[in-house]
Symmetry: C2
Subunit: 497 residues, 2 copies
């Protein structure tokens, strides 16, 4: 079958809002606390901070926060929304979806499609692609779609714990968008693997095969990147011949980031794939690649995944380009940690925040962002977003500079409260106990002075397991940074531990 003539609705992202907790632990202090060698988390994982939360927040509350703040900051009439979709793997219910809880934000508007999508860290991308499809199809009714992706990434005590984090990102989707996608420029990788999963109902933490997970991430990235390059250079679309990382002018890259070091190594592998393609192309000169990399250009790919020598070569060769094309997207994740479904969108927000400001921002009209989303199990997609100016007067309020100035993400991360490293254990122990106790349950962590203005929090779980939420007033005082020796955990938690 052939496709119909392309109709360009300029669908895409109109606005973006993020939420993460106001408290974080410094990874260097976590190294000391965990008695590991200095640099294990900061250099080994490439991480700087980790966001944490006690028992006052769950997937419903953090999505309520992100979506409500998005609606308020962009002054969106809730009756103008026709679709709301959620991506998460921090489920608190196997049947009732977070999407339905969000309906409390849309009084007098029940005509809102979309549900909750589960596929490890990929759920938000599935939701986003669905929202794009909706805007692009005959089903579109002129209203906005909202996609929210978020998780609380909690690990058992051990090597994976520093790769946790928490947060959510809400996206406003529509036509005539300042950040647009051509739906034909997207490819997907789906496979059945057991790299990371959450099968134990008695816990909220996952089972992880760290080595396999890295290989699966590499393989998915290779699969989508190879086909994405084919799509981009096919001539049918934009005719970008010889497209690839090393020739991608004006392009930034934004990857799902379990931890920053994996992103850096993965970017190196894209450069490796570029080198292999150049080497195998009929027009390339024999001596195009230096001797250092040459032995690897003909090796079967599966033999290269865990090769430490190759890893070093690729790191050196791609280092400058990595910093140019990915540093700003990775900034937020390094300070927050992994937010699972939210991670790739925190990357996007970070890039917009840092490079999209004012008239002179580097993320200007004509620039592109190649997005790579990976969810274990596995499901991954690569697609491209492009910066443009909106043309309708109704959408004049949506632009990259507006997103940047509204996000203030770097500033918000810098103004957070650093807490002692042991607070991570206390918070996660409390969460584990909440999971275990079930219903009824009243959270013990404090709210006032701890949660940001506009933050929703879990007030109680009643005897019928119903969860009730309240919101810190948007006019409340910004939490004052406390002395470090004032613990975040309440006395009842401190006494128990």
């Amino acid at each position: 079958m052939t496709q119909d003539t392309y109709i360009n609705h300029k669908i895409g992202i109109l606005a973006i809002e993020t939420y993460t907790s106001h408290q974080y632990v410094l990874q260097s202090e976590l190294e000391t606390h965990e008695h590991v060698s200095p640099g294990k988390f900061t250099i080994g994982l490439g991480q700087k901070g980790i966001a944490l939360t006690g028992d006052r927040e769950d997937i419903n509350s953090i999505c309520l926060t992100a979506v409500h703040n998005l609606l308020e900051k962009y002054d969106i009439d809730v009756t103008d929304v026709g679709r709301v979709e959620v991506g998460t793997e921090t489920l608190v219910d196997k049947s009732k979806s977070t999407k339905t809880v969000l309906m409390d934000l849309f009084p007098n508007n029940t005509d809102i499609e979309g549900a909750t999508i589960v596929n490890a860290c990929y759920g938000g991308t599935a939701a986003l692609l669905n929202a794009f499809l909706w805007c692009d199809s005959n089903a579109y009714n002129g209203k906005y779609a909202i996609v929210v992706a978020g998780d609380i990434a909690a690990y058992d005590k051990g090597p994976a714990r520093p790769t946790g984090g928490m947060g959510a990102v809400a996206l406003l989707i529509g036509r005539d968008a300042p950040l647009t996608i051509d739906l034909r420029q997207r490819v997907t990788h789906a496979s059945h693997v057991w790299d990371f999963y959450k099968p134990d109902p008695s816990k909220e933490t996952p089972v992880v095969d760290g080595v396999l997970s890295q290989v699966c991430y590499y393989q998915a990235l290779e699969d989508v990147y190879t086909r994405f390059c084919d799509v981009m250079s096919s001539g049918d679309v934009f005719g970008l011949k010889d497209y690839g990382v090393d020739t991608a002018k004006d392009t930034y890259f934004c990857f799902h980031a379990p931890y920053n070091k994996l992103v850096q190594k993965s970017f190196g592998r894209l450069c490796f794939l570029d080198a292999r393609r150049r080497f195998h192309s009929t027009t390339a000169a024999d001596d195009e690649e230096d001797d250092e990399l040459k032995p690897y250009l003909t090796k079967p790919l599966e033999e290269t995944y865990t090769d430490k020598t190759l890893e070093k070569i690729l790191k050196n060769k791609s280092s400058t380009m990595f910093h140019e094309k990915m540093k700003d997207a990775n900034y937020a994740g390094q300070w927050i940690g992994n937010t699972y479904t939210g991670s790739v969108f925190f990357g996007l927000a970070s890039l917009i925040d840092r490079l999209g400001g004012g008239d002179g921002g580097d993320l200007s009209v004509g620039k592109s962002i190649v997005m790579f989303s990976y969810g274990s199990g596995a499901l991954a997609s690569m697609y491209r977003l492009q910066v443009r100016e909106t043309t309708t007067s109704k959408h004049a309020k949506f632009s990259i500079p507006k997103m940047s100035s509204t996000l203030q993400l770097t500033q918000r991360l810098e103004s957070r409260q650093k807490v002692a490293a042991n607070e991570l254990d206390l918070a996660l122990n409390t969460r584990a106990e909440m999971h275990h106790v079930g219903a009824p349950y009243t959270p013990v962590y404090p709210t006032e002075g701890r949660l940001l203005p506009g933050t929703y929090y879990l007030k109680e779980i009643d005897g019928q397991w119903r969860r009730f939420y309240e919101r810190i007033s948007v006019d409340a005082d910004f939490p004052v940074v406390k002395e470090e020796d004032v613990p975040l955990a309440p006395l009842s938690v401190l006494e128990k531990n």
Copy 2:
């Protein structure tokens, strides 16, 4: 914003396949077993049989079965599939999706979008609408989408237990379909209610507020039906003025069916809404409605939900129409029970099976089916499917008669093995124990002679919680109907109980 000129891709359903277990319990025997008054389940709920399964099947296995059988029966090349999406609320993992497990059915094809959607019984409809959007958008690549919706509906011992069931339905989606949707003819109701949910991680059974659930179902139905009638009679689409149940010529109705009696009562309420609209329309004569219904035509709707007198009036008034328009769609569900996300599609399959056969089938070209899907929490949609003939030679193999002859659903249900009523307790106790024990786990229920040819089953859960499946050969003998005194449960289960 206005919509673009409508482009009719004739997207819709090309093929349908169902799966339910080969064993069932007779509801009349369950009444005796549960010591309730005769007729409580058969007349009170309107149910005839309930499908059951022990510990050999889970959400992954039943979706594998439905999808693999669909692919085989319609001879679909797995590389021709570009999207696979799952709707379910029988999760066995909070992170790894059933979609990824299904990838084992698609060797050498990783370019398959779609994930798993969770929203109580609505997840399959969300998946279906997404697949339609995909086919209708610029993202479409000419391949097929597959949507699979299924659940194992297990309830604690008590009044809700007879409303369980198990099964899955797989749908093949594409353009130029014999059963097509106009995407503009669909409306949705979304709200935040606690009518039915699964918050307790230690169990696979739900928390149910039966009375609230019925009211929520009514309210969602009223909301979508009222707006659906507006859409249908707006003149912008098909100009079907005065559309409604009572004027819907050539139209069948297919509802999500928790139990048949609720569907019947709900259909009565649509007739009630029709009567109210006629009464309030300016052109209606004052004496249009008979005295019996008149007092209710001006009453606030919320005061009518639990009125038993009204219920009886509506049942009598709508009875003939209910049988004409819904009897065949409801047949399968009455014999299987609730399959949650699969329920509304079992209704569709049942209708096709019973009325779509041969040249003279009543479900002929030009006929329509109004679909109503409800998921607690709540999320509901109403949309219309229309029967047509495909026009491309490639799709000549897809038709309603082909679906009917391939399904043979009535025949398959009639050839099932009736087991003793206490087998339901034994199977559900075993499932509860499997849930409790966790990993590793080896299922105890027999497979050979019990599972249908082509059925996937859980072979084991290993120490790392990984689930492994095998399939009964499609050439295996059809399970012979055993004497009733040969129990389905293995000795280890019988001895324990």
